[in-house]
C-alpha cells in the first residue's frame, strides 16, 4: 500500500472515517445506516423468534427447532450453567443481548448491508451500561446496598493491609473496567474486523484498476478478503457469546454472597 501511495495512484486506505456514515435523509442524525440496521435487527429477530415460538409444539417444526436451538443455547449454556438456580429471571435479558449483538455483528458480512453495527461504539456502550446497571441492581437487591458495596470494597479473607491496594482496584474493576472492557472488546473487534475487510476488498478493487501486473495480484486480495469474511463470521459469533457470557458472569457474581 505504501508503494501504491508513492506511485500516486490515489489509493486512500480505509480509516475511521469509513465508519462515519452520513444521514440518508437530510441532516437528520437518526437516519444513518447504523441506526436503520439496528432497527432492522430488532424487526428481524422479533419476527423470526415470534414465528418460531408461535406454536410452541412438543414436536417442533424446523423453524421452531432453529429458534429453540438459539434460545436453548442461551438459556442452558449461558444462563443456567453460569448463574445457577435463579437463572430464569435473567434469560430474557441474556437472550435479547445475545441475539441483538449476534445479528448486528453478522450484518457486517451480509451482502448489501455489510456494516457491523457494533463497530459504532455507541451501541456497545449502551449494552455495557445496561449490563452494568443490571448486575449492580441485582447485587444491591440481593444483598442490600451497604453490604454489596462493602463486599466489593473489602473483599473477605484478605489481610487488612492489602486493602490499601485491593480496595481501589476492586472499585475500579466493578465500576469502570468491567463496563469499559465489555463495550470496547466488542467495539474493537467489530471495528478492526470491518477495517480489515475494507482493506482487502477495497484494496483488491483498487488493484484491479491499476496496471496489468497489479491486476494479477488483485484476485489474491479478494481471496484473502473472502477468507477473512469467514474468519469475521467466527469472530462475530464469538464476540456475541463473550459479551453475553461476561454479562451472565457479572450477574452471577453479584448474586453470589461472597465474591
Amino acid at each position: 500500500m505504501i508503494r501504491l501511495a508513492t506511485e500516486g495512484e490515489g489509493f486512500k486506505p480505509p480509516s475511521a472515517k469509513d465508519f462515519v456514515l452520513p444521514p440518508i435523509f437530510g441532516d437528520n442524525a437518526f437516519t444513518t445506516k447504523p441506526i436503520f440496521l439496528v432497527f432492522l435487527s430488532v424487526i428481524l429477530i422479533s419476527t423470526f423468534f415470534i414465528l418460531a415460538a408461535r406454536k410452541a409444539a412438543v414436536v417442533p417444526s424446523k423453524l421452531q427447532y432453529a429458534g429453540e436451538s438459539v434460545y436453548g443455547f442461551v438459556r442452558d449454556n449461558l444462563a443456567k450453567d453460569v448463574i445457577g438456580h435463579e437463572f430464569m429471571r435473567f434469560v430474557p435479558y441474556l437472550f435479547t443481548l445475545f441475539t441483538f449483538i449476534l445479528v448486528n455483528n453478522i450484518f457486517g458480512i451480509v451482502p448489501m448491508l455489510q456494516f457491523p453495527t457494533m463497530s459504532r461504539v455507541s451501541f456497545p456502550y449502551v449494552l455495557a451500561i445496561i449490563t452494568f446497571l443490571v448486575f449492580h441492581y441485582v447485587g444491591v437487591r440481593k444483598q442490600g446496598a451497604f453490604k454489596y458495596i462493602r463486599e466489593i470494597m473489602f473483599m473477605p479473607g484478605v489481610p487488612k493491609a492489602a486493602y490499601i491496594l485491593i480496595t481501589p482496584l476492586e472499585l475500579l474493576t466493578f465500576f469502570l473496567v468491567r463496563p469499559l472492557t465489555l463495550s470496547l472488546r466488542l467495539f474493537a473487534n467489530m471495528f478492526a474486523g470491518h477495517l480489515l475487510l475494507l482493506v482487502f476488498i477495497l484494496g483488491g478493487e483498487h488493484l484491479l484498476q491499476g496496471v496489468i501486473g497489479l491486476k494479477l495480484i488483485s484476485p489474491f486480495a479478494f481471496f484473502i478478503g473472502i477468507v477473512l469474511t469467514f474468519f469475521e463470521f467466527m469472530v462475530q459469533c464469538l464476540q456475541a457469546y463473550i459479551f453475553t457470557l461476561l454479562s451472565a458472569l457479572y450477574i452471577a457474581g453479584a448474586l453470589a454472597d461472597e465474591h
Binding site: 435479547t96 459504532r120 455507541s122
Partner: protein, 175 residues
C-alpha cells in the same frame, strides 16, 4: 491511517447521541418483544416436552410394574395350582389306598363269611351224617345182631364169614 487527518479528527471512541438513544430504544423494544412473546412460548414448549417425556417414562414404568405384578400373580397362581394338584394327588392316593384297604377287608370278611358258612354247612352235614350214621349203624347193628342170633354161631370161622357176608352186602348195598 494517521495520514488521513486532513479534515476533522475522528475519534471512534466518542459515542454519538442519536445512536445512544436508538440503542436504548431498540434494545428495550427487542427485550420487551422477546420477553413477552418468545421466552414464555419456548418455556411452554420445553415444559410440555419435559412433561411428555416424563409422562412417557412414567407410563412405561407403570406398564412394567403392571407386567411384573401380572407375572408374579401368574406364578403364584401356578404355584398354588401345583400345590393344589399335589394335594389332590395325595388325597387321591390316600383315598385309593383306603378304598383298596376297605375292599380287601371286605373281601377278607366275605371270604371269612363264606368259609364260616361252608364250615358251618360241613359241620351241619357232618352232624347230620353222624346222626344218620348213628341211626343206620344202630339199625345195621340190630340187623346184624338179628342175623347172628338167627344162625347158629358155633365157630369162629362161621362168625367171621357172617360178618364178611354182611360187609359185602353192605358194600353192594352202597353201590
Amino acid at each position: 491511517m494517521i495520514t488521513l487527518a486532513a479534515g476533522e479528527e475522528i475519534n471512534p471512541l466518542v459515542p454519538h447521541t442519536a445512536e445512544i438513544i436508538v440503542g436504548f430504544i431498540a434494545f428495550t423494544l427487542l427485550f420487551l418483544v422477546l420477553r413477552s412473546k418468545v421466552v414464555p412460548m419456548f418455556e411452554r414448549a420445553f415444559a410440555a416436552r419435559t412433561e411428555a417425556i416424563q409422562g412417557g417414562i412414567e407410563k412405561a414404568e407403570r406398564a412394567q410394574r403392571e407386567a411384573q405384578a401380572a407375572l408374579a400373580e401368574y406364578q403364584s397362581q401356578l404355584n398354588s395350582a401345583r400345590g393344589e394338584a399335589q394335594v389332590i394327588r395325595e388325597s387321591a392316593r390316600v383315598e385309593g389306598a383306603a378304598l383298596l384297604e376297605q375292599m380287601r377287608a371286605k373281601a377278607q370278611e366275605e371270604a371269612a363269611r363264606i368259609t364260616a358258612a361252608a364250615s358251618a354247612a360241613i359241620e351241619a352235614e357232618r352232624t347230620a351224617a353222624v346222626v344218620s350214621l348213628r341211626n343206620e349203624v344202630g339199625a345195621l347193628a340190630i340187623e346184624l345182631a338179628n342175623r347172628i342170633v338167627g344162625e347158629s354161631l358155633d365157630d369162629q370161622a362161621r362168625q367171621s364169614r357172617i360178618v364178611d357176608r354182611f360187609l359185602d352186602e353192605l358194600e353192594s348195598q352202597k353201590k
